[in-house]
Every structure is written in structure tokens, then in C-alpha cells.
Symmetry: C2
Subunit: 195 residues, 2 copies
DNA sequence: CCTACCGATCGGTAGG
DNA sequence: CCTACCGATCGGTAGG
């Protein structure tokens, strides 16, 4: 493969600036509460310039949601289930998941939790497909916990309960607060296990 | 107090129609994704007419959020803590909470969960004050559960975990699905207790 | 990427 | 409540 030329690198960098700035603004003010002009201004672009990188506002949302989900999924898949006993594996998953949510790129990932629902058509379907992979991974982690007798049930609903509780931290976590993402994850895991 | 005249009754009814129509649309498309024209059209009003009842779009959002929260809070406060043992009281609370969220006025209350964050100034403060009353109520219910040895911890974070898991049902509950709100609440309570 | 612009839509208002 | 309207802003485009 050819090495990218300097202009290409700059294009890619600016494109990435857009994705991050958009994600942060979407998180703060919502997708429909944020204008393309807001996003452009945040990285010192002119009003029409984002459309050089993304054909539509929706494409920009999709790029952020997909990147956030895939980065988080990769972190989770990097944890080897066979290398750890059930509880430790589950805890490592929870820690990685929450760290990714709360610490990536100045906290851009929480946007994914609330704003993916404004995606349409193929964009929405692509995101739902990635979400399925998440849930399958978590289901198997939870099933191991149940087999070890550490949790009462491990069906799809229990999985949703757990992920909702974990994702809820997005709404009250403060970076300068007393607890780190790892500590919050540990507390939740401790709270839901039966022994 | 004087009995309201017929015109007043109609005014109140139309005002209420607006609140409900707005809540349903906000839930579906988000606050900023819904226009006052959308809301007016939904109840066969003309574009400018909602402003006869509400000075601003924000006031209409506030009316819906406040009404939803207060109705739910009233349901919870109607349950007498002293009349039931800890687990049964907690379960009754969870059932009432979820029924209110999922069944009120064709499912308008979930809007509260996502859209209250677009409130500003005094409107936001008023809603946060009501939320504090919710959390205090749930904290005491959870504390009783802990005193009875049915749950590991009952601090503010455990309370948030629980409410996040409960509220999460808003995103996957289907009225025509296999489980009722009561059954979902029971499953969650069963899942989080340690014995 | 910037400049200059388009048609559409928005929240809100005046006057009845 | 309806009619008719306002200024502002929106997503997006053409041309360089």
C-alpha cells in the first residue's frame, strides 16, 4: 500500500477533529440541538466546510457512534475469557467497558448511549448489528457468572438490567469526583453478585 | 371556589391535549427534533395556536416533565412503608414506579427520562428538586432492604444502579410483549437481592 | 477548505 | 383559537 501524502493526512486529521467535536456537542446539546455551524465553529472551520468531509449531518453522527462502539468492542474482545475465572473476567469486562465510555477522547462516547436513536435506515441497522455483538459478549460473560453460582439469572433481561445500570454512570460520573471508572465498575459488580 | 365555566374546561382540556401530544412526540423524536408545528398538527391545531396555551416551547416541555414526575411520585408516596415487610415494600415500589413509567397516558412518561435535560434555569431546578424527593424515597426503601440483609449495600450509588436498571426498561419494553411492567419489576428485584 | 448563497423551516407575535 | 406574518437559523450547495 502506498504511504499517504501529506494532504491526505491533514484531511484525515480534520475529519477526525470533526467527529470528536460533533460527538462532544451531541452529548452536551443533543443531535438536533446542535447545528453544523456549532460543530464547525468548535474547530475553527467555516459554516460550509464540514460538508467537504461529510455529505450530511447524519453521516457525521454515524461516524462518531460507529467509531465509539467499535473502539469499545475491541477493548472488550481483547480480554481473554479463558485466562480468568468467571468473576474476575466479568469484573475486567465491566472495568474496560466503563473506562471506554467515560475516558475516551474527553468523554465523547456517552453520546453513543443517547444519540444513536436518531440514526436512520442503513446507518441504524449497522449500529444495531454492532450492539448485538456487544450483547452476545456480555451474555456469555454473565452466563459464566451464573454457572459459578454468583448470580441468580443470566437471561437477556438480566443482561439488559446490568448494562443499563452500568451505562447509567454516564449521567452522574464526574471526572474530578471521588471515584474512578474502575472503582464504579467494581462496586456495581460487587452489588449484583449474590455471594 | 367557583365552579369553572365551560370555556375554562375546554381551555384546560386543550392545554392537556397539548402536554400529552408534546410528550409523545418528544419521546419519539426528541425535544429539539420536534417542532411546535408537529405538536399542533398532532391535535389538529394551527401552527400558532399552541402559544395561546404556552408562552414558549420550553414551558410545554416543563409542564409534561413536571406532571409526569409528580404523578409518579404520588403513586410511590401512596404506598405505606409500615404496612409491608421490607422486600414486599420494595417490590411494591418497583412495580408502581415501572407501571407509572410505562403505562401512563399511552407511554408519555419515558420522555421524562431523556428530555428533562433540555430544561433551563428555574425549570431545571424545579425538576431536580422533585428528583431529589424520588431519590430520598428510594434510598429509604433500599436501606430497609439492606437492614433485612437482602442486599449488600444501600448507599447513593447502589440507589442509582437500581434506578438506572429500572429505567432502562423504557428502552426495550413493548406493550404487546410477553412481560408486563409488574413482571419486569419483579424480575429486577429478584435479580438484585442476595438471598 | 472558504465565500456566498438557496429554499425550507423554526419559534414566536399581532390582530382579530 | 385562526390567519398572516416576522426575523433568525437551519442543512446543504456551487464555484472557486
Amino acid at each position: 500500500m502506498a504511504r499517504p501524502k501529506r494532504e491526505d493526512i491533514n484531511d484525515v486529521n480534520r475529519r477526525n477533529d470533526l467527529v470528536i467535536a460533533a460527538a462532544l456537542l451531541f452529548k452536551e446539546k443533543g443531535y438536533h440541538g446542535t447545528s453544523m455551524r456549532d460543530i464547525a465553529r468548535a474547530i475553527n472551520m467555516q459554516a460550509g466546510s464540514p460538508f467537504y468531509h461529510f455529505a450530511t449531518k447524519q453521516d457525521l453522527l454515524f461516524a462518531g457512534v460507529e467509531a465509539g462502539l467499535l473502539a469499545c468492542l475491541a477493548d472488550l474482545e481483547a480480554i481473554d475469557p479463558k485466562a480468568l475465572p468467571p468473576l474476575e473476567y466479568f469484573r475486567a469486562m465491566a472495568r474496560a467497558h466503563l473506562r471506554c465510555l467515560l475516558e475516551t477522547q474527553g468523554g465523547m462516547v456517552p453520546m453513543v448511549v443517547d444519540e444513536w436513536r436518531y440514526l436512520e435506515g442503513p446507518n441504524l441497522e449497522a449500529v444495531l448489528a454492532i450492539r448485538h455483538r456487544f450483547e452476545a459478549l456480555w451474555q456469555s460473560a454473565l452466563a459464566r457468572l451464573k454457572d459459578a453460582g454468583l448470580v441468580r439469572r443470566s437471561d437477556a433481561m438480566a443482561c439488559r438490567f446490568f448494562l443499563s445500570a452500568l451505562h447509567g454512570a454516564v449521567r452522574w460520573y464526574k471526572p474530578d469526583g471521588p471515584m474512578s471508572p474502575d472503582e464504579i465498575a467494581d462496586e456495581l459488580v460487587d452489588w449484583i453478585r449474590t455471594r
